[in-house]
Amino acid sequence: MLLLDRNGAATDGWTRTEGAAIGNLSRALVGFDALPEALAQLAPDQQIGVLISNALAVSELEPFLPRLSLIAIGFPAFADGRGFSQAKAIRRAGFTGSLRASGPLIPDQFDYALACGFDEIELPDTSADRQTVLQWQQARGRLSQTYQRGYRRDGNILDRRRLARTASGSTAP
C-alpha cells in the first residue's frame, strides 16, 4: 500500500478495524455499516474515519459528517468515476476532514481527484509497484490550467479571463 498526498508519499496514521471494535486506537477506520456503533464508543482523544463504497448515497453519510475525521471512498476500478462525484458532494455538505481515494487510480487522475476535494490517494501495491511516486508527482499540474469553475484548483481559465477583463476594464475580447 502506498499513500500519496499533494507533497508525495505520506505515512498512514489510520488503522482499519474489523466491525466496530475501535478499542483504544487513536485513529480508527471503520466500515460504513459499523459506523454508528463505533461512534457510540468514541473516546474524546480518539478520531474516527469511515470507508465507504462508491455506491453509497452521500445523503446517508451526511448526518455523520461533523464527527468524522477521515472519509475513504473505495474505487473498485480506476475507470469507475463515481467517487469523484461523491467527493464533490461530501465537500459541498461541509466536510472539512481528510478525504481519501482508496483504490487502483492512475497518476493521470491525481489532479482530478484533488480538484474534486480529495486530499490523498491510497494505492494498492499492484499499482504502486509500477507507478512511482515520482510519476505521480510529475502528473500533477501537467495540464497547468483547466476550464471548470467551482472545483478545488488554483485559477481556472474562466476566472483568469475574468481577471484579464477587469484589468483591461473592457468586456470585449
Binding site: 480506476f78 475507470a79 469507475d80 468515476g81 463515481r82 469523484f84 462525484s85 461523491q86 464533490k88 458532494a89 459541498r92 492512475i106 493521470d108 487522475q109 489532479d111 482530478y112 481527484a113 480538484a115 474534486c116 509500477r130 507507478q131 512511482t132 510519476q135 510529475q138 501537467r142 495540464l143 497547468s144 490550467q145 483547466t146 476550464y147 471548470q148 469553475r149 467551482g150 472545483y151 484548483r153 481559465i157 474562466l158 483568469r160 479571463r161 475574468r162 477583463r165 468586456t171 470585449a172 475580447p173
Partner: protein, 556 residues
C-alpha cells in the same frame, strides 16, 4: 470563427505533452494496456481491424481553409492520402501509426485543432447544425454555446470517467438538422413564449445503438446564464446513478428509461437547486466573448437573384441540376450555402482525398469567407457563397469529382465504415452503399424520387444512424453470412422517430432490390409533391411490408 486565446493554446499544447508522456509510460510498462486504453481513447486513438485509427474533432462542424489544408497534409504524410468524415462532425484517419500520433497532434495544435475526447467514456465532441449562422429559420447561432460547452467539458475533473460516452448536440433553428433528439443531451435555442428571452430547451436520453431512444425534454426553458450549472447537475446525477454493471445499459438513455423522465427530472432539479450556480456558471461576458467570434462576415449587399447564375444555368444543364439540388437558402440576399457532396456514385461515403481537401480549402478561402462546414450526413458545406460565384465553384469541383448533385437524394447515403475498417462490424456497409448508389445512379430517376435518406450501419452500434433513416439498413451476421435488416419510417429531424423493421434479413445482393421495391410502392402511392417520408407516414407500413414480403419470399 472561434480563435484560441493564450489559455486555449497552452491547454492544447500541454495536452499533447501529456499524451506523449502517457505513451512513454505505456511503453515502459508503468501503465498497463487496460490503464492506457481510456487515455488513448480520450485522445482519439482507437485500435481497429487493420491498424490504429485517429479521430479528429471538428467542433460544431466549423473549419477554416488553413485547418482543412493541415488535415490534407496529415492525410498525405501519415495516412494513405485520404480521410473519412463521420456522422459526428469528426474526421477519421484509418491508417496512422501509434508512434506518429503525438506528431500528428502537434500539427493539429498548430492550427487550433485536437483529438480531445473524440472517444472514451467522457463528454464527446459537441456537434451542431451545419447551417448555423446561415439558416433562415435560426433564432441564434448555436456555435457559441457549443464552444462554451467544448471548453467546459474538456478534461473535466469530475466527468471524465463516466459510465459510458456522452454526446451533446445543439441547434438554434426551428428545423433540427443536428439530430439533437438522438443525443444524450440535445440543446435547442428558443425564445421564451411570454418574455421573449432567449434560452435553452434541454432534452436528455436520446441515443441510437442497440437500444434506440428519442430524447425527452427535461427542461422547457433554461436561462442562458444557468447552462453550466444545469449541465453539471445532469452529469452528476448520471455519473452517480448511471449503470456500471452492464456496458450495454450504461448510457443515460437507459437511466432515464428505467427511472422515468419525471423522476430523472426531479433528481436533476434537486441537484441543480443545491448547486451554487454563480460559482459554476460562465459570466455572461465570457459567453459574449465567444459570441463575438461568430458575428456574421462582411457580406455585400446584393440583389436576391443573380443574373450570372441564370445565364450559366440556362447554358449548362448539369450545372443547373447541381444548383437545383445542392443549394440551401441563405439568410442574406444574393448568397447561398453550397453542399459539396462526398457521395459520388461508387465511392465510400464521407471519404475525401488530400487533393480534394486542398481544392475545397481554396474555394472556401476565395468564395466563402474562409469558412467551411462538415455535416453529420458526411458532406462538406461552403456556407456563404455569392450566387454570382456558383458557376466558378462548380467548374472547379467537377474535375476532382466533387460536383455530384445529390444532396438529400437517394444516393446521398450515410454509411459507417463497417467491416472494411471496423473491429466491431458484423457486416459490410460501404459496399452496400455503393451498390445502392449504382442502382440509382441515373440522375433523372434520383430527381424524380426526391428527398430520401438511406442510412447504413455495419452492426447494432448504429454509427450509421440507420434507426433514423427514412430507409435504414443494418448489417448483421447470421451463421457466418451477412444479413441485412431493412427499417422504414425513421426520421432525424424535429419529428425524430425510429424506423420499423419491414421483415426478415436479406442477403447483401438483394438490398438494392429491396430499396427498389420500397421506392416502387412510394411511387405508386404518392400524391403530387409528396415526399417519401410523408407518403410512408400517410399510408403506413402495410403496402411496403407486402412488397417486401414478396421479395423476401422469392429469396428464401
Amino acid at each position: 470563427m472561434y480563435r484560441y486565446d493564450e489559455f486555449d493554446e497552452r491547454f492544447v499544447r500541454e495536452r499533447v505533452g501529456q499524451f506523449r508522456d502517457q505513451v512513454a509510460r505505456r511503453l515502459d510498462g508503468s501503465l498497463t494496456e487496460d490503464e492506457f486504453k481510456p487515455l488513448r481513447l480520450k485522445n482519439g486513438v482507437y485500435l481497429q481491424l487493420h491498424a490504429y485509427m485517429l479521430r479528429i474533432a471538428i467542433p460544431y462542424g466549423t473549419l477554416s481553409a488553413r485547418q482543412l489544408r493541415q488535415l490534407a497534409l496529415i492525410g498525405e504524410r501519415y495516412d494513405r492520402g485520404y480521410g473519412h468524415f463521420t456522422t459526428r462532425q469528426n474526421l477519421q484517419f484509418n491508417w496512422p501509426q501509434l508512434r506518429d500520433v503525438p506528431a500528428i497532434l502537434d500539427l493539429l495544435a498548430d492550427v487550433e485543432m485536437h483529438c480531445i475526447q473524440t472517444s472514451g467514456n467522457c463528454i464527446r465532441n459537441v456537434t451542431a447544425d451545419h447551417f448555423a449562422g446561415v439558416a433562415q429559420d435560426e433564432i441564434e447561432d448555436p456555435r457559441a454555446v457549443c464552444e462554451l460547452i467544448r471548453q467546459w467539458s474538456t478534461a473535466h475533473p469530475e466527468f471524465s470517467y463516466l459510465p459510458r460516452k456522452f454526446k451533446i448536440a445543439a441547434t438554434g433553428a426551428q428545423h433540427d438538422r443536428a439530430v439533437i433528439k438522438a443525443h444524450d443531451i440535445g440543446i435547442r435555442i428558443l425564445k421564451h413564449p411570454q418574455s421573449g428571452e432567449i434560452g435553452y430547451e434541454i432534452s436528455v436520453g436520446g441515443g441510437l445503438g442497440r437500444t434506440p431512444m428519442i430524447g425527452k425534454v427535461v427542461r422547457d426553458f433554461l436561462p442562458k446564464t444557468d447552462l453550466l450549472a444545469y449541465l453539471e447537475a445532469v452529469m452528476r446525477v448520471y455519473n452517480l446513478e448511471g449503470r456500471r454493471d452492464n456496458k450495454y445499459k450504461a448510457r443515460v438513455k437507459i437511466l432515464v428509461h428505467e427511472i422515468g423522465t419525471d423522476e430523472f427530472r426531479r433528481r436533476v432539479e434537486a441537484e441543480f437547486a443545491k448547486l451554487d450556480g454563480p460559482s459554476v456558471n460562465a459570466d455572461p461576458e465570457e459567453l459574449a466573448r465567444i459570441e463575438s467570434y461568430f458575428t456574421p462576415p462582411a457580406y455585400q449587399s446584393l440583389p436576391e437573384d443573380s443574373q450570372a447564375l441564370a445565364v450559366a444555368k440556362a447554358a449548362n444543364p448539369d450545372f443547373a441540376r447541381w444548383v437545383d439540388t445542392n443549394l440551401t437558402p441563405h439568410r442574406v440576399p444574393g448568397y447561398s450555402a453550397v453542399t459539396i457532396s462526398l457521395k459520388p456514385v461508387g465511392l465510400a461515403p464521407g471519404d475525401a482525398t488530400s487533393e480534394q481537401m486542398r481544392l475545397v480549402a481554396d474555394l472556401a478561402e476565395r468564395y466563402s469567407f474562409d469558412e467551411l462546414r462538415v455535416t453529420h450526413a458526411q458532406n462538406l458545406v461552403l456556407p456563404h457563397v455569392r450566387k454570382d460565384d456558383l458557376f466558378a465553384i462548380w467548374q472547379a469541383l467537377v474535375p476532382v469529382g466533387l460536383a455530384t448533385a445529390n444532396l438529400g437524394l437517394i444516393t446521398d447515403i450515410i454509411a459507417c465504415p463497417g467491416l472494411d475498417y471496423c473491429a466491431l462490424a458484423t457486416a459490410r456497409s460501404i459496399p452496400i452503399a455503393q451498390a445502392i448508389a449504382q442502382r440509382f445512379a441515373d440522375v433523372e430517376r434520383q430527381a424524380s424520387i426526391g428527398e430520401l435518406n438511406i442510412k447504413i450501419s455495419g452492426c447494432i452500434n448504429a454509427c450509421g444512424h440507420h434507426h433514423v433513416g427514412h430507409i435504414g439498413v443494418l448489417g448483421l451476421e447470421k451463421r457466418g453470412i451477412e444479413s441485412y435488416q431493412i427499417t422504414l419510417g425513421g426520421e432525424a429531424t424535429e419529428n425524430a422517430s425510429i424506423g420499423e423493421i419491414l421483415g426478415p434479413g436479406l442477403p447483401a445482393e438483394e438490398v438494392p432490390n429491396a430499396i427498389e421495391a420500397i421506392v416502387g410502392v412510394y411511387e405508386r402511392h404518392r400524391h403530387d409533391g409528396e415526399r417519401f417520408i410523408e407518403t410512408v407516414k400517410r399510408v403506413g407500413l402495410v403496402p411496403f411490408k407486402t412488397a417486401f414480403k414478396e421479395l423476401a419470399d422469392a429469396v428464401a
